[in-house]
Symmetry: C2
Subunit: 193 residues, 2 copies
DNA sequence: ACAGCCATGTAACTCGTTACATGATTAC
DNA sequence: GTAATCATGTAACGAGTTACATGGCTGT
């Protein structure tokens, strides 16, 4: 079989298992509300590149049609695509998640700058975490009603809940670090888990 | 000033702020017990490439000496390096951490395979988390005694504690997902935070 | 009329990886 | 004597990014 598909390719393939035909543009939008939180939201160009590769491998079917004056191409997963995705999930180990945690990296070498700089960074991070939590929370709410066993969004819901708790945990950790750095402001901003 | 240094370059620069002169090989070892958990442990070749770049920019000083029959080069951060690191930390936003969470990615599309496959993946993840926690825990213990305000390993300790809690939280989330997937095994494996 | 979104792609480039190559020192 | 560790690098390559280019359609 074809073994030369990057993880992002499988991620896109995965997005196409939720039933609909999607254009590259739509895939990007879906990725922005799902993949973005746990993987990465690929650049448009990357998505088109990947779709090309998947098409060449016969894992997706490209459906070109005329829409107004322009040509629009939708993609759907094929039988082979289903099989390839399945083979990937069952046959290759998931591997340990990789964190590219710029905040922790900087905290690690906090002695190289002023304490207030580090505190400011952590405050910024808290604000961004709140925004991320709000974004993901909206997504999660949109899945309500189809999140039970057997429902189409069962797994996305599980993942969203995991992500929300992860963000909540990060908030706690950031606050603890701030405390430890001698700040007892006591933001009245409480957690979920 | 020089703006074209990748984050990994600054990470290496950061490792050199802890006092000693290090060889590329030693930097790799340090990275394996620190950076690995929150950033990435660069390949040897990448480290040498980066050291070359940092040297060219005058941010580190290469100290070549003869040790036995072979030439060994140690690197130390320069004044300019300190300044560049500081400028990076104070002048560029940390940005939001990126998660390359292969486990969550697969869980997201869990409907594409058998439930037991997904459960097995989560069990594997739990085992890997335990191993990671043990590794990082050892590192954290090694920092005891120099982890108070003003001590050299203050910040590394903060980061290690954060990381340990992160792993603990991930364990909880994985267990919760397992529960939700209809498994009430009740591993007697309890968390920290 | 113009901005913003929908939609698709190409080109150049960078980060980082794996594979390869070399050789000395240390431990068993 | 031989395996593991220390130590340094080059070459080929791949994934993914930004910048660039194009153009239609939609709302104000």
């Amino acid at each position: 079989m074809s073994q030369d598909i990057p993880v992002t390719g499988y991620a896109i393939l995965g997005l196409l298992t939720f039933g609909d035909e999607l254009t590259g543009y739509e895939i990007k939008q879906r990725a922005d509300v799902t993949l973005r939180f746990y993987w990465v939201s690929p650049a448009m160009s990357q998505i088109y590149t990947e779709l090309r590769r998947l098409t060449d491998h016969g894992l997706v079917r490209a459906d070109a049609r005329q829409e107004g004056g322009r040509e629009v191409t939708s993609y759907a997963i094929t039988e082979d695509g289903q099989a390839a995705l399945r083979a990937w999930m069952d046959g290759t180990p998931a591997g340990f998640p990789v964190l590219k945690h710029t905040v922790l990296l900087r905290l690690l070498i906090g002695h190289a700058t002023e304490p207030e700089q580090t505190r400011a960074m952590l405050h910024d991070y808290l604000a961004e975490l709140d925004a991320a939590r709000a974004d993901l929370g909206e997504v999660r709410e949109a899945l309500r009603g189809a999140d039970q066993p057997g429902d189409p969004f069962r797994f996305p819901s599980l993942v969203a809940d995991w992500g929300l708790d992860y963000f909540a945990a990060e908030s706690r950790h950031a606050r603890r670090a701030l405390d430890s750095l001698g700040e007892t402001d006591a933001d009245p901003d409480e957690a979920t888990a």
